[in-house]
């Protein structure tokens, strides 16, 4: 038996039976004004919530849109008309919504959506515990956290944790209307209500991935990954790390009846069974970063560290090389000048290092000088193998 709870979305009152049969104990309900992809009116949402409660399913209100100040003020007008007692908790992402709930509805439980933003360290997640206090009942964590990190966070946090286990991976969210202008439908229904979003598929020659689902609705434009997340093959590992809640997102036209098969994995798990569900699932899937996340290992290759100024003996860098004649150095350091008799080290951009003693210093006007200071350009006799952008250091 795997103890991780499965939770899902509910968009129609008729679907409650499937949730009950699947043993789902919690359902997310989205209204068109508060939820990115919600399509319910306030009263429809309340009705579904009450129906959920009557069969022992916890109804949770989703308020996950991001809001500029004007949108926020319009949104709370609708929000204030909701009967919040119909719901057991509210899922929030915008910190403004969080603050609003903490200050105005302190009796309501919060599920904090930390799937995006700077929530890839334990301290960042814990802060929401501090801010929301006992009101925070759950942290919904990022798919970019790998299993080992999840395990640590679950151990360290005082609140329960949720992860998306199956469904679309949101890659991009803007409030701007990016697709409708192509159809000249600026004032059409999709701008007024959330019932008729525009959905297209986007593919680029510049990306090996084809067919990104793109949705535009009244809240903006959203792009999803070409592959959905599918972690059900690792449900045993998910249970082992102690994850309390796994979200199954079958919106966007998928068959909710798949939920029953998914739920059966909890009592009778096998990789083969999970794989057969994956085969039945209509979209190509992957496991995301569940086992490993190396998405920042490439960065060290993005620049040449050899030309970086690295110690207090730095003098400047080479701005001209004239073969067999001279090397021009601009003196950039305020601490170190250069004088005849000094030894210098030169670090070339391609990794070579040379040392030499300064026997002659000349200005651009060919005047011999005994020393040079910050801001000056100075010329020394040519040294083979040195190129422009070579860093020059005092060799102490």
């Amino acid at each position: 038996m795997i103890n991780t709870n499965l939770i899902t979305y509910i968009e129609r009152i008729e679907d409650i039976d499937i949730l009950v049969e699947s043993g789902v104990k919690e359902a997310i309900i989205g209204t068109s004004t508060l939820s990115r992809f919600g399509n319910l009116s306030n009263s429809q949402a309340q009705d579904i919530a009450k129906a959920c409660k009557s069969v022992g399913i916890r109804p949770v209100l989703e308020w996950d849109i991001l809001m500029t100040e004007n949108v926020f003020n319009m949104t709370i007008k609708t929000f204030e008309h909701l009967d919040l007692n119909a719901f057991v908790a509210i899922r929030l992402q915008d910190p403004g919504a969080v603050n609003y709930i903490i200050e105005n509805y302190p009796e309501h439980k919060i599920q904090m959506i930390l799937e995006s933003g700077g929530h890839h360290n334990l301290e960042a997640v814990k802060i929401w515990q501090t801010l929301a206090g006992g009101n925070l009942e759950r942290a919904i964590l990022s798919l970019e956290l790998s299993k080992n990190i999840l395990e640590e966070y679950i151990r360290e946090l005082d609140v329960e944790v949720e992860l998306l286990g199956l469904g679309r991976i949101l890659l991009f969210y803007t409030p701007r209307s990016l697709v409708a202008p192509m159809f000249g439908t600026d004032d059409k229904d999709h701008k007024q209500v959330n019932k008729a979003p525009i959905e297209v598929s986007a593919s680029s020659e510049e990306s090996p991935h084809k067919g990104f689902p793109v949705i535009e609705n009244m809240h903006g434009t959203f792009m999803f990954n070409t592959k959905d997340i599918f972690l059900l093959e690792y449900l045993d590992e998910i249970g082992d790390v102690g994850l309390q809640h796994l979200r199954i997102d079958l919106r966007f036209g998928h068959d909710l009846s798949l939920l029953k098969k998914i739920a059966s994995l909890k009592t009778n798990f096998s990789k083969e069974k999970a794989t057969s569900i994956k085969d039945e699932y209509p979209v190509v899937t992957n496991r995301g970063f569940f086992h490993v996340n190396k998405s920042d290992v490439l960065f060290k290759k993005l620049k040449n560290y050899r030309i970086q100024r690295s110690d207090m003996q730095f003098i400047g860098d080479v701005v001209e090389v004239n073969k067999k004649k001279h090397i021009g150095i601009v003196l950039r350091s305020r601490q170190n000048g250069l004088k005849v008799g000094d030894s210098i080290r030169l670090h070339t951009p391609d990794g070579k290092e040379k040392t030499t003693k300064i026997n002659s210093l000349k200005t651009s006007a060919h005047e011999e000088v005994s020393h040079a200071e910050h801001g000056q350009v100075i010329f020394i006799p040519h040294i083979s193998g040195i190129s422009v952008k070579t860093s020059v250091y005092l060799d102490m």
């Binding site: 598929s201 020659e205 190396k294 620049k303 690295s310």
Partner: protein, 406 residues
């Protein structure tokens, strides 16, 4: 009478660009160290450069803000304390942070001021109030926020507010785009953005009007560049504390030109209390002389509309190119010349412009070019030094540009 104007905050991708931005009029610069920023490929600052940069800025009454705006992983905290201690020692004026864990660490372990990065997408009064509880003193607002909304946020949250006024724009809510992460294995919020939003996409679906199959190629996710010079009166009326220019990866010419244009406009207002200057057209014209996409004022006045999409293949709209920087101004009885570090080649008899720190560009014909051996040459090459005739008013670090033939 002197009228209040906001701070002009310019990008400093390197120590040299920091100097250029400040000399051309920026009141403040933001820069990244070798870690913790979002511009992995930028030169960024070593500790020594950072210390020198802060000294240079403070000597000219300019502020320095250091970006720590990548999304931290737990292991990053191992070296954060050491870095913050250095920033305090160097007397950095603030750090720009997007991650609540980092904000907590810095406010508990140092006296460095914390500004909230635009990566945190602070968009409303309630959000600003929440960040204030964590010890943030300034919020860099999301680029979806209008100036009027920003003014309200400042007033009701009691925080300093900073807004972008110029430069490239993310199309997505900042910090909410992970295209690179999932498609290229590069964490966009840790400096690995692959700019997938600038790609051309083939869109396929059903036309909601006709119900027929639809297919079109479009750069639908690419935003035009922000340009807010005409919105300056609103920024001032709203008492927006700081106006930020995007572009740490951009050129010296960009850093210098943008700093110069906006600082001259703000200086004019400071003196006159209005923008009714004959120079307005000149300022706008100058902004077209740096590399840029088509301009938009995006959401500064009202939410960005379809005309804010840059539906073109990425290309450099360059009217002018930087040809060099003046390293020495030699003006003695014996010698009179400018020593120029050549950044892109120019020819004898070519028309160039010197960009002074203040005032209009000075046009001149290149009627003599000598190498540093004083030999006459007809064409320069990048990565060399040349001597050109003295131009009245030229100063060290002034930039030179030439018109690019289209």
């Amino acid at each position: 009478m002197s009228h209040w104007v906001p701070e002009l905050l310019a990008p400093a991708g390197s120590l040299e660009k920091l100097k250029v931005a400040i000399l051309y009029g920026a009141n403040a610069v933001y820069l990244g160290g070798q870690k913790f920023g979002l511009r992995s490929a930028a030169e960024n600052f070593t500790l020594e450069e950072l210390e020198e940069g802060v000294q240079f800025a403070h000597e000219r009454n300019a502020q320095v803000y250091v970006v720590l705006n990548s999304f931290f992983h737990d292991k990053d905290f191992d070296t954060l304390g050491e870095f913050i201690a250095k920033l305090e020692e160097f007397k950095v004026d603030a750090v720009i942070v997007s991650d609540p864990g980092v904000i907590k660490y810095i406010t508990e372990n140092s006296n460095v001021e914390v500004h909230l990065s635009t990566q945190a997408s602070c968009l409303n009064v309630q959000s600003a109030k929440l960040w204030k509880k964590l010890g943030v003193t300034r919020v860099v607002l999301g680029r979806e926020v209008s100036v009027a909304e920003a003014a309200k946020i400042k007033k009701e949250a009691g925080l300093e507010v900073e807004m972008f006024i110029h430069g490239s724009m993310c199309m997505a809510y900042s910090g909410n785009c992970v295209i690179s992460n999932f498609t290229q294995g590069r964490d966009s919020n840790r400096g690995g953005c692959a700019h997938s939003c600038r790609f051309e996409y083939k869109l396929e679906g059903v036309d909601p009007n006709s119900g027929t199959e639809f297919s079109k190629n479009s750069f639908f996710m690419s935003s035009k560049d922000l340009e807010g010079i005409r919105v300056l009166p609103e920024f001032i009326n709203g008492e927006i504390d700081s106006l930020k220019v995007e572009g740490r990866m951009k050129s010296h010419l960009y850093a210098g030109t943008i700093s110069k244009v906006y600082s001259e406009a703000l200086s004019y207002y400071k003196e006159h209390g209005d923008f009714l200057s004959d120079e307005l057209k000149t300022w706008e014209n100058e902004l077209t002389k740096v590399s840029h996409r088509a301009y938009t004022n995006a959401s500064l006045v009202e939410p960005a509309k379809a005309d804010s999409i840059y539906d073109e293949r990425e290309h450099e709209e360059i009217e002018y190119a930087a040809v060099g920087a003046i390293l020495e101004v030699v003006n003695t009885d014996k010698n009179k010349y400018l020593l120029v570090e050549v950044r892109s080649a120019f020819n004898l008899q070519e028309d160039l412009e010197l960009i002074p720190f203040r005032g209009r560009a000075v046009e001149f014909k290149m009627d003599s070019i000598k190498n540093v051996m004083d030999e006459d040459i007809e064409r320069t090459r990048p990565g060399s030094l040349v001597k050109i005739p003295y131009v009245e008013g030229a100063k060290q670090w002034n930039l030179l540009r030439r018109r690019v033939e289209q």
